[in-house]
Symmetry: D2
Subunit: 299 residues, 4 copies
């Protein structure tokens, strides 16, 4: 089996494909970079089948935000980053009078690098039941429900099956699915957020149509929010070898196939970025909230 660089980020997959093909642009792919609220934002649009094949991902819009300022703990960085992500999320959703939303936290709360989804859900304002019981008090809020998909070994169900079951029961206008990703670059770990309007295949970057959460399987838009928390150790090894221009000695790679590379302080990183995403979702879905409102409502 040929070893491959693995990444769940469209922005990295595009670069890989360009490098491999020795080109500056890929047919069927449009990319744009900009600075927004002080953060570097890249949009990769996969326009058609040629782009999808070149990048290995379904057609749609993938927006990547780099949060380095946040990690340097610049003043107002949390507030700015949450507002930026909220704006970007609003750009992918259509609101109408009866809009309602389901937030799906994918991944395993017991494995830190896989806990971004469940930990994000801890910071989401869940309002569906409150609007039903106290409709006047919560008139200003949209109905939001949340589900954590849990772990296959303890439910017997694929993550996608559980989220689909809940979506079919609740009939929300859209699903926001939050999951941990793998990236190629160690420097991106817990510092990048990818938002996509393409849905998500839980637990894997490779396609298995039956398990996907997307408009085809659910009948409603599925916004994927992902954070890279690991690099495959095999990817890191391959990458280092290529950068060094080294002849690969495959025998040295046997051990690392089942290993991951992750930040030393992964627990704090996951906690921080999960809070950021949760707050961004709240700001995106309810009009007129600010950070301190969310602080108070979640306390």
């Amino acid at each position: 089996m040929e070893r491959q660089i693995r990444t769940d980020l469209a922005v990295e997959a595009r670069k890989l494909s360009q490098d491999t093909q020795g080109v500056d642009a890929l047919p069927g792919v449009r990319a744009e970079e900009r600075s927004q609220r002080g953060f570097h934002v890249t949009t990769v649009e996969i326009l058609d089948g040629r782009g999808a094949e070149a990048i290995g991902k379904p057609c749609g819009r993938y927006i990547t935000v780099e949060l380095d300022g946040l990690m340097r703990r610049e003043e107002n960085a949390f507030s700015n980053a949450a507002s930026l992500l909220a704006e970007l999320l609003r750009g992918l959703v259509e609101f109408s009078a009866g809009s309602s939303f389901l937030i799906a936290g994918l991944g395993n709360r017991g494995i830190t690098p896989d806990a971004v989804g469940p930990e994000t859900v801890d910071h989401v304002l869940v309002t569906r039941h409150l609007k039903e019981k106290l409709p006047e008090d919560f008139a200003a809020f949209r109905p939001v429900s949340a589900v954590c998909s849990g772990v296959l070994g303890t439910t017997g169900m694929e993550s996608g099956d559980l989220v689909r079951a809940v979506a079919e029961q609740l009939r929300p206008s859209a699903v926001f699915a939050v999951d941990a990703l793998a990236s190629r670059e160690p420097g991106r770990l817990c510092r990048t957020v990818q938002i996509a309007d393409t849905g998500i295949v839980p637990g894997s970057g490779v396609g298995n149509a039956r398990k996907a959460l997307n408009r085809e399987t659910l009948g409603i838009p599925v916004i994927a929010i992902g954070v890279p928390t690991v690099v495959d150790a095999g990817t890191l090894a391959l990458d280092l070898a290529q950068r060094s221009g080294a002849e690969l000695d495959p025998s040295g790679f046997g051990d690392v196939g089942s290993m991951i590379v992750t930040p030393r302080d992964i627990d704090k990183n996951v906690r921080d970025i999960s809070k950021l995403i949760g707050y961004a979702i709240n700001l995106a879905l309810h009009d007129g909230l600010d950070i301190s409102d969310v602080d108070m409502l979640l306390s």
Copy 2:
């Protein structure tokens, strides 16, 4: 508002109704007591509407097992109790070639007296996904999946809604719904298990048909497994007053309305009895297993 004795146990509700009416038997109710594998077992059958009204519970069979021997840590008590509960559960279920089961852990893992459901699920052998992937290795097992309903405030969904969503997705032959109950007698706390073929109304002994998990709402049998873990402090107060033949001084009761009575070592009690119920479910659903097999498969 008139204060009332609250209990989720049919065996206690029957006694209350008999005492109130001053009778030894209730129309539409049949009761039987016996000793089985060294434990005291009571079956209360509510046969018709008269019985349902007298006892305040839907028609069906309610089997109560008293586990005092277990709590005195008699030899083989765990094994005997698990085998007994497994036999009783098998008596409420029909097996056929393609039978499959969903175990629903109701209640809140974060509140010890309410954690019996989720903690039981931790001890259930979940096999559905294994049978799909390794059908030959798991030929001897029936497909079992599991779901914990979570907490309204964190999902926005009633427990019943989530379990119903999953049941509609997976189409099991039957659901086992495990929940904590309230009893009248402090001496029953964590020492009694009630099994019923009537389904369950999560979170409450009082009816709300829309929220129920039963054959009417799910279209399949729902076996309820409940353990009393609390006595309402108001019930305790009322009960003590009645036993003492005292004139009630209602002013003394104001404080206790939002209080519960629970064993001092509730955490260990809930852990132990949740394990017992999980093991009993495993023995009931898979042929030829014994306790040590379950130990090994869960480790």
Copy 3:
């Protein structure tokens, strides 16, 4: 054995003793009530051996704050209550140039009503190591360390032994020992804080001099901060019987001896009041902090 009303609160023990003796004042005891920052504050001073015997507690000052306004979620209630408790704590401590402090969280994190101590520690600003490493950045802070005593069954050591070991190693100027208490009145649960300059006997209201944490055993002041989270069910039963003027029927009490009465939403209550105490300790020990500073430093 004669059944007795059990309480760890000096204010309740004084009232009990007065009622039993049929007097309005106890020799060797001075009490005073006042309103401070909108809260009801009672100080009971046990002045000598006569008072100590009457109340069953060592000589010293016991200050009780009733937090009902907090629980009704009045505006600024958290801030006012934290400021009040901080003032009261400061009144029991002497500060000098080199003052340092050890916060001891007593009790068992795994049992909700016993978790006030460990959960309070989660909200304490621990600064000792920071002052050592970055003395200039943390010049404005006093050195504070913290320890949770854990559970006898998992350490093999009494709580007091562990705290004493740490105190002897670190040589702080004073210890603040936080623990859950038992009260007589259900209405006080999680709504009252008792602060005392007498030290504490972990895990019990009854004396065992060897295990005590106080000036005699540690050689430094020990400030006890306690919150009632349970009423003994036996105490509740006895109390209700006495209030109803009933003849006691002791046979009805057998079941409740190992039971506790606790609020239905004990988990949220313990979380809230532990945060309050942690914040109060921070405001007491570091000059010039306000609530939002603590929010930021703990985030």
Copy 4:
């Protein structure tokens, strides 16, 4: 700063030093390999200052056990491995009539690869308090106490300070200090145990005499038990580069300095090996126990 291969394992450090110096033997170092109970066991003895300098570790005996059979889930592997480790531990300890022991779980329970120490303590039979209270029932057991050192940021104390405080209070005959380590080889992660009679410097392979837990600082033998759970990503990168004979391109390394390499299923690995070490300690310290006794006593 020159990049270096980092390892906490004497067996790897010896090999590194031999390779660097191009020699087959190091002065002041004696090594021996053997098979014992089906496991590969290597003993490295650092005899004097020359050996200590060559290997970068204090004088003493370092025994490494490779547990590959365990990880392949061979029959009786757990029992064999626990018995082997117990034998090796007994070889480093002297027992007398009044021997007592303190087990110190170093590391941070909240960070999975650092949780080996605290999770091991969960499987240790703590008997000190039981022997005091029920001396006859526990006559066959030696007094064992346990402490988890917690995290600097939440205690304000170095791990070593807390363990030293407890050791000075309890005066055990010896301390067993359990900690997670870093290795060079990814293939060793969670598959190797190093036992040493040299004590330990918590949190680091590099020396800081004041913080060490050893005979010099505690006055009693300190047996270190360590399990490698991470490889520094910088070490992995350097190692791969060296193996490939590549010219190093240092610019490619900038990102990985704060990264670790760890098994994908680190949570299960840590859980399993912590249980193994806990059981081995129990078998070593109490005569005549077998695995099933420990199962029962811990349940």
